[in-house]
Amino acid sequence: MTKLTVIATLVVVYFCFLLGISIPVPIAEAHSIHISYQVEEVEVGVYFGGGAAAQDTDVTVYDPDGNIYITGKTDGNGKFSFEPSARAGEWTVVAEHSGHRAEETIIGGAQAEENGMPLYARVAAGLGYLVGIAGIAIGYAAWKNGRRAKEDDTVSRDR
């Protein structure tokens, strides 16, 4: 028995070692690839309905929290440029010119495609699903067995 305990301990230590050397490695997730991007500068153009550039238009940029980030006026070509911060989310640009108003949202800032759930939670979720699936299967088997036993019982009583 002591020999077995030693082997079991070695196996556990070995797996811990593997986990230990693998998790902090930066290239550890070579099996799913993700894209991240950073919008450095946004240039908006403001036009009138016919296509003419709207000069001197008041432009207000709101960050994803809804706070005013920057205000300004479009140049001679109806353009206005700003540099969003790294704040990810929907930036809102509002242009106002002589009573006309246009609004546009821009996905800006640093975007990292990540579902936000930490790895250990995803592992736990997966194992949880498995326990659930197995539980349902076992429950179903038990129910079926019970029914069969009941049928056998009835058959034997009928005889």
Binding site: L4, I7, A8, V11, F15, L18, L19, I21, S22, I23, V25, I27, A28, E29, A30, H31, S32, H34, L119, R122, V123, A125, G126, L127, Y129, L130, V131, I133, A134, A137, I138, Y140, A141, K144, N145
Partner: protein, 207 residues
Amino acid sequence: MHISDGVLPAELWISGTVVASAGVTYVLAKKTDAAEMPKLAVVTGAMFVASLIHIPVGETSIHLILSGLAGIVLGLSALPAIFVSLILQALLFQHGGLTTLGINTLIMGMPALMAYGLFWTGMKSNIARKHALFGGIAGGMAICLGVCLLYLCLLTIGVDPEWLLLCVVVPHLVIVAIEAIIVGGFAEFVVKVKPEILQGYRSVELG
């Protein structure tokens, strides 16, 4: 050993899905004992988590697969176990993809069944330390065959064979060695402690 969505041509992943789901359905309906469910779930869980154990090799990183282990422990039921663990990996780790579930199940599942056959054949022999020996062979060969299947799959879509050889096949040789040791050691250990949980052992030695 995961092929992602959108890599394979439709006829390949559709036929993979059809064949794999037929296999999984058949095994679940006809060849799986309900009493085996907890064991099936545990092995599925092990495979699901094993893919997180990464080993950096050169510029790429590879991970444990444990298809050979699933084969010797579960026998034919390795197929549904692999299928479920791939679903969970695709959904939770973004490994592989949902359209390629079928083809990935075959790439891992067929070697698992082969590992079962190998181990089962080995158990009939009278070689000393046959459990560790054939466990190791089964574990290693499962990865070898899996990589061969993956290689063929990726060749058909025109991936550069030389690149494949260097970046996919060669790094997996490390996994072949590691899994041979793991599965061999596992088989030796389990045969001593609780041999009846090995399907490959049970069908020979315990009738």
